[in-house]
């Protein structure tokens, strides 16, 4: 499924334009870093792709699907094929770590034994197995972030959006996460990572899309981070 963003502008108030005339095509299987100073519009772009927001102008299609015209049920089915690591995690407070990860599988009707198997596997892979019975508020920031990553990955989505997925992780753990993301990407999933982490971007070189003040200012294959941060 190709993500095709054409001429998208997103305006919140007359004076806040989060994205301005953005054209971007992300083919199936791409790995893209979205970089840019804080407030430049990275999260807004991701929220447009999940149809949390609709563009003020322009149009987004994912595969054959024009996002503007999705009904509530179609939207749910569309979102099942997109895994999102939210910048603020959005874990469900009333659910344990285990339940937070299993319920997205349950919501699509996966049978119990498969859910158990998959959840256990992914918790193990992210070093969270011993924390599975804790509630989000009992976790450290980095642990919460990994739960969010686990939840986004567990359904093997066609597209994975990760918004600042290493902001609360030490370098070693961040590198682990990155190699997991790369292996997911290798299996055909499109991965879009918004990040401020220069190390990561420079170490695992991939396509880099730079945004500044809502505009795409560069788009390089095997790019570098470039801390050109005049706001």
């Amino acid at each position: 499924m190709e993500i095709r963003i054409s001429g998208v502008t997103k305006q919140f108030y007359p004076d806040i334009v989060a994205l301005r005339d953005v054209y971007l095509t992300i083919p199936q299987g791409d790995f893209v870093y979205l970089v840019g100073p804080t407030g430049s519009g990275k999260t807004t772009l991701m929220r447009l792709i999940t149809r949390e927001l609709v563009p003020t102008k322009g149009q987004i299609t994912v595969g054959d699907c024009n996002l503007r015209s999705l009904g509530a049920i179609d939207l749910a089915y569309y979102r099942r094929d997109i895994g999102v690591v939210f910048q603020d995690f959005r874990l469900i407070e009333g659910l344990t770590v285990y339940e937070n990860i299993s319920f997205v599988q349950e919501a699509i009707g996966m049978p119990k034994n498969l859910v158990r198997e998959r959840t256990g596997e992914i918790l193990d892979r992210l070093g969270l197995w011993r924390r599975r019975h804790l509630y989000p508020e009992q976790l450290s920031g980095g642990e919460q972030q990994r739960v969010a990553i686990a939840r986004a990955m567990v359904n093997c989505p066609g597209i994975l959006l990760a918004d600042e997925p290493t902001g609360n992780l030490d370098l070693a753990t961040a590198e682990d996460i990155m190699s997991i993301l790369l292996s997911i990407n290798a299996s055909g999933t499109t991965v879009l990572v918004a990040t401020h982490n220069q190390y990561i971007v420079d170490e695992f070189r991939q396509r880099v899309v730079g945004i500044r003040r809502g505009r795409v200012v560069r788009d390089e294959r095997k790019g570098r981070y470039e801390a050109d941060g005049d706001l």
Binding site: V54, V84, F86, R90, E93, F103, N155, G158
Partner: protein, 307 residues
């Protein structure tokens, strides 16, 4: 995307199980909220049930008083025509019972009425009092009809009945039935309102959860069902408990009443409360369902409407 795409049935079963478990979680994990909603539901259903019982007993009481209303017809020629009139009355639809009073009985009763002055009556010599027929009507409003009927009969000389009393009783009775309806409607409206608000506020406390679930691909139905079932469960439990309390407190109240006011016509049969309980539980299901559905679907709509 993987899983058992082929077996739609198994999948639906699985989803159903998850929904049930989630309902349980909603109830159990936020025990505080659940208990508050439940207690509110009990209070509200108790009020409704109590007002229903109150209304029914008031009606029974009025009916009891009404059945004490008589129309008395004095007949012209002795006991013969007295029996004719009594027979005709007995045939009427709106008549409950008919009693005949011979002149002898009438004299006795006059003597009793005069108390120690009864001696005066003996001065009357031959008994001048006529025979009469006493008719008990089924409802106060029929008294006038019966009186008209009687006066039209050739055998009847005069008709005595408390037109004013019949009139009043009729009016009071019809007013009580209207008032009781109003009370019930107000109670039920207040009950629904309170339950709706309570459920809605408790859904409001979980706004974020609803939003997140929808964001990760849960269908609106999957998100809504546990809330709806939770609402229904609380409604039903509230109604059940209220019925239980009602059953015992009604038994207690009615015993106390019968003891101190034995002359009132009350509904002593506690089965009434059981039947009322069934209605309340039905109401609990309906209100719980509708209220939680309205509440949760509002938040779902807000969350899926893109900005």
């Amino acid at each position: 995307m993987s899983g058992t795409k082929g077996k739609a049935g198994t999948r639906r079963m699985a989803i159903f199980r998850y929904i049930l478990r989630d309902t349980w979680r909603l109830l159990a994990r936020n025990l505080g909220l659940s208990v508050l909603t439940f207690v509110t539901a009990v209070a509200v259903f108790y009020l409704v049930g109590a007002s229903v019982l109150f209304v029914m007993n008031t009606r029974a009481m009025i009916a009891g008083v009404e059945s004490n209303l008589f129309v008395q017809a004095y007949v012209k020629d002795g006991e013969e025509s007295m029996r004719t009139v009594a027979g005709k009355m007995q045939a009427m639809e709106c008549v409950a019972s008919v009693e005949t009073i011979t002149p002898q009985q009438a004299l006795e009763s006059l003597k009793a009425r005069l108390g120690s002055q009864a001696d005066a009556v003996t001065l009357l010599g031959d008994n001048p009092l006529p025979a009469s027929v006493q008719v008990q009507v089924k409802k106060a409003e029929f008294a006038t009809v019966v009186a008209r009927e009687l006066i039209a009969m050739p055998e009847v000389d005069d008709v005595v009945y408390s037109g004013e009393l019949a009139d009043r009783l009729g009016k009071i009775s019809s007013f009580v039935s209207r008032l009781s309806m109003v009370i019930l409607v107000i109670c039920i409206a207040a009950a629904s309102l309170v339950l709706f608000n309570t459920i809605r506020i408790s859904v409001y406390a979980r706004k974020d959860e609803i939003e997140t679930m929808l964001l990760v691909g849960a269908t609106p139905a999957f998100v809504a069902f546990p809330f709806v079932l939770q609402g229904v469960t609380l409604g039903v439990l509230g109604a059940l408990f209220a019925s239980g309390i009602l059953y015992f407190s009604y038994g207690y109240a009615i015993n106390a009443l019968i003891h101190s006011l034995p002359f009132l016509t009350l509904i002593k049969d506690r089965e009434l409360v059981l039947r009322l309980g069934i209605v309340l539980v039905g109401g609990g299901v309906t209100i719980g369902w509708i209220c939680s559905w309205l509440a949760v679907s509002k938040f779902i709509r807000a969350a899926t409407r893109p900005q």
